[in-house]
Amino acid sequence: MSAVFKLETFRDDFTFSNSAAAIRRFPLPFPQDEYMYSVNIEPHLPGPRGSVLEFAFDVDEHYVAECRERELVLAEDPRRFQALPHMMSAQWDCLELIMEALARDYPAHFSLIKSGNEWRWINRPLNLDQSFIFGDAGSLPRAPLDYITRQAQGDFVLMDQREGDLWIEAGMVTTQADWSLDFDLGMTFKEWHGPVPLAHEMNVFDRALKYLLNLRLGQPVRRLNWTMTVHPRLDTSPENYPYWGPDRAAVTANNAGDLVHLRVELQGLWRLPRSNAVLFGIRCYLISVRELASIPKWARRVHRVLKQLHPALVEYKGLARYRDAVVEWLAPFDDGAPTSPGTAPE
């Protein structure tokens, strides 16, 4: 990982961009030239060195900027963090999981020093040094989940397990693809996923729920999901729709390469030990279509995926207004040559 954290924005002047190295490690979610849902869950095992899968929680060149963006969102709308009272032990489980992983995987940036329940956490990129008592919420400046997820990239949701179901009952959600924690809090797993088209008919959620109810301690799993966003805007929330919704009307075949971004979610699921809750991490990666097209195989692949995408998915993912423009922008990059299997850039 690069030790250099970029100063960039995800709003107003949108100075976000990916370095050449960040482009090459981008988690493309299309292993083939066409896309349909599947229960594409696999063990969250360490991936290749330098890849976004190398560690449990990837820290990349956007870390500091994304933490700043989260502070801006929370200042405007504190309800992006919520936790029901019975989720306190799950909050501590989550804090422990993230702190231990970051300190183990990025020792140059994070340290965790434990003496029994007396813990000291050092976050060098954000210049924090906090001593606290593990399990004593009064010893931290904020609720445990609030505290640690202001120092992590991606959204985090805690699901309680009871009555043979998972209930979404705590979370920090500021980098979401048009869904609202405030609206969904207290829902069951299937209620939460109610708006997703086609997947219910395919029994995707029955199978996924059954799988997640039996998720084992120490054996996390992951999957990729994706959509597209105009501008590198992390916070595309329903609450802020008036600010970002109209952007979609500005896309043309001329500007699509720079305006439109592929938005990939690396979703991780962990069983938490003391609470028996499930942590759902949703890490958002953004890449402009122009950046994507700098890899010839990816330009061909994404052109074909978008061109053939099922109409219900075009609608659900909010691409209806500009999908054709992106396909037109990418068309010159697709010479019809076959693409090799898998997502590696070649």
Binding site: P43, D93, D160, R162, L217
Partner: protein, 320 residues
């Protein structure tokens, strides 16, 4: 991924706590803390006995706040297939065992207004750990513990220390009976009941609660079935193209594992449903012993739990 990912542990204490129950304390080999868990969890203990490998589930009874050791209690089963006898007769301080990470299929409901805990005999073990989770908390609870006689009351002192006046003990030898009808008809709204112990006790708790109108969501129990002994039969694994013979005293799962085919499992006690396997062909009947499939599913005979169920047939073909 290997579902049976295990940790090596060493036995650091063994205590005979009743005429039938031994209490084992386990620690990691290097002395590092064991994985955190929640009250109600069990582990699978892997025992490499001379004749065969046993994998039995046992509830963790120690405090989830103390991870230097795990504690389990093992009742010597009269009709043991060998696992409990092996632990009782062969395992001593310094012995090594392998265990799988804790799994909780008997967790406390976090939005309960009150917890009503009912245990019989060795069924007290998961509840001991749950008491540690409840201790100091704001949610009221009661514990009712039924045993044959005072000498069979495992962990009585520990329970009194932890639960104090919330504990009521019932000694069968003194004619003390737990009146479930009275107990379950006098609980505040939002109470959850948890039962662990002999089949008769669990059936009585569940049946009484349902008759009194308790919602199923508020009734919890855990009953690990030991794979019963039965007649020998043969299974054909369609995908592995392998015939496996299942002797009377081995389960389908154990026989398939012994043949070198790995099967996924969590509880090995007919509770979790993880090892549910499709039945492709059958010329006889399935002997379902699990607590997972509904009666309708059992009657359809389209799938079987490998860990505890058997078949009486000439030919059974499995989607494995």
């Amino acid at each position: 991924m290997n579902p049976a990912q295990t940790l090596p542990v060493v036995v650091t204490a063994v205590e005979q706590v009743t005429p039938l129950i031994k209490h084992f304390t386990l620690a990691s080999l290097g002395g590092e803390p064991l994985p955190a868990f929640s009250g109600g969890s069990h582990i699978i203990v892997v025992m490499h006995a001379q004749a065969r490998t046993h994998r039995n589930p046992y509830s963790l009874l120690g405090s989830p706040r103390c991870l230097d050791t795990y504690e389990i209690a093992v009742r010597r089963m009269e009709q043991s297939r060998g696992g409990s006898h092996y632990l009782h007769d062969e395992i001593e301080v310094g012995s090594r065992l392998d265990i799988a990470h804790p799994v909780n299929l008997f967790g406390l409901d976090k939005i309960a207004r009150k917890h009503l805990l009912i245990a019989g005999g060795v069924g007290i073990t998961p509840i001991l750990a749950q008491l540690e989770d409840l201790h100091d908390g704001p949610i009221p609870y009661e514990l009712h513990y039924a045993v044959r006689s005072p000498q069979h009351a495992a962990f009585a002192q520990r329970l009194r220390d932890r639960a104090g006046e919330r504990l009521t003990m019932y000694h069968d030898s003194a004619g003390q009976r737990l009146d479930l009808g009275r107990l379950l008809s006098n609980q505040p709204l939002g109470t959850h009941v948890y039962a662990c112990g002999p089949a008769g006790l669990i059936d009585a708790v569940v049946g009484t609660a349902r008759n009194l109108g308790w919602p199923d969501s508020h009734i919890h129990w855990e009953r690990f079935a030991a794979p019963p002994v039965g007649e020998a039969f043969e299974a054909y694994l369609a995908r592995s193209q392998l015939s496996v013979r299942i002797p009377p005293d081995r389960s389908l799962m154990e026989s398939i594992e012994a043949a070198g085919v790995e099967v996924p499992y969590l509880c090995r006690g007919g509770v979790c449903g993880f090892c549910q396997t499709r039945v492709l062909e059958l010329d006889g009947e399935l002997l379902h012993n699990d607590h997972f499939l509904s009666d309708a599913d059992k009657a359809r005979a389209a799938s079987i739990m490998l860990c505890v169920s058997r078949a009486r047939c000439k030919r059974l073909v499995l989607d494995l």
